[in-house]
Symmetry: C2
Subunit: 251 residues, 2 copies
């Protein structure tokens, strides 16, 4: 089978945070498949076909891309951030596992990218500098009690937590419930950062505390970082703040 | 204060996985500070000073870089992977917090990179495609009981785990002890991957199970990925394997 499938992480937003390997894979593709707002971040080329989809059905999008590749096309599926982190790479493998056996012969390459989480952390200081977790707050594909159990486990164990998909129109109450749970486990002064649209023109970074964190400040483009009891706050000379995780843990 | 400090993630190894913003920051620096083997990955420029150090004392290295920046130099501190993940950014902020108050007026910018963890995951499939943790197995700055308690918490809660610093000459037994603990929590068939020197010429990827995982295959350049009970294995037509985390969790 001659088809080729790249799953490409576009990085968080800024063009100079996209890896050259991703840029090259996009330039060489015959077909680009992705959510419309991610496709808009890929330079257009006249000989290239673009297949825009809405963001809801990742498996259909993955199957479409695999079918094109199986027909001999050179396909790039695009994701924001890193393609392997709450993004299209898992959907592609899920589609392969349950799909046409011939897809297992395709040349599949995942091109990693700079994740939203690390781009956000870089703007804030080094809040993910020691043990941390990344988890999705969405209960679309995961029971809500599982979300709460995982959050409780990692907060109690001293991990910093990066929350993906914290809030959307269809999931308006989950972030407030997560903050409520965390206030029973962590000190109320625990550092919280909300980073929205990181590295794009409308980037917004807000640093607050668990006591004062306001869920309504988050939307689908927001990454919420919740520090551990060890997370430190440094006042900068200009009045701003840096947050960082010390490199170890106290005895 | 006119000095400038960039903390730059070089990416995992391959040149085409380094962000253009990192390349640019390195080109514009008057001074580059870092562990010698990372400096070797930065193209030399005649007007630039290079300050190589051994890998052991991160805080001294950070203080040196901050002193140079405070003296008006344009300094880049380099880390492999992402600068904010078990790397130099935390050390720089730790040095700022406990150092010369004037350092709080420096222009500090963290340039994120593609982490070793995501580059490794991309070579394996999408093992970090759903909730996961990253933790350091080093007990140099963290009591060993804390390491075990964290590992127990996240494995029991269903996270995939990426272990940084799994093994070195000075820490030869910790990875075996971690596997022993995990075998009491997770099914013996749980997927384990060991990815060494990812994206460099001597890259080595080994996929095995928790029952058969051999700690002696890991060294300081290895990232160990431990799946959850949900992690799936796909046999490729060429006999190889892909691992991936499904996008949700079962009810």
């Amino acid at each position: 089978m001659s088809g080729f499938l790249h799953v490409v992480g576009l990085g968080p937003g800024a063009g100079d945070l996209r890896a050259p390997r991703a840029t090259e894979a996009l330039a060489r593709a015959s077909d680009i498949v992705g959510y419309a707002s991610y496709l808009a971040r890929v330079p257009e080329r006249s000989a290239q076909l673009r297949h825009a989809s809405d963001n809801r059905d990742e498996i259909s999008r993955a199957r479409h891309a695999l079918s094109l590749a199986a027909a001999g096309r050179r396909v790039a599926v695009v994701s924001s951030g890193d393609a392997g982190v709450f993004a299209m790479a898992s959907a592609v493998f899920e589609a392969i596992e349950h799909g046409d056996p011939a897809w297992r012969a395709l040349d599949v390459e995942i091109v990693p990218g700079i994740s939203a989480m690390f781009a956000a952390a870089a703007r804030i200081g080094a809040p993910l500098g020691h043990d941390f977790c990344a988890m999705s707050l969405s209960d679309n594909l995961k029971p809500w009690p599982t979300v709460l159990a995982r959050l409780r486990a990692v907060a109690a164990a001293g991990f910093t937590v990066a929350l993906y998909n914290p809030r959307s129109r269809a999931r308006p109450w989950q972030l407030a419930a997560a903050f409520d749970l965390l206030r029973t486990i962590l000190p109320r002064g625990t550092c919280v950062a909300m980073a929205t649209a990181v590295s794009s023109a409308d980037e917004r970074i807000e640093i607050t505390s668990l006591a004062e964190a306001d869920p309504s400040r988050a939307d689908m483009r927001t990454l919420v970082l919740i520090g551990s009891a060890a997370t430190r706050r440094i006042e900068r000379a200009d009045g701003g703040l840096w947050l960082y995780a010390p490199r170890g843990a106290p005895a």
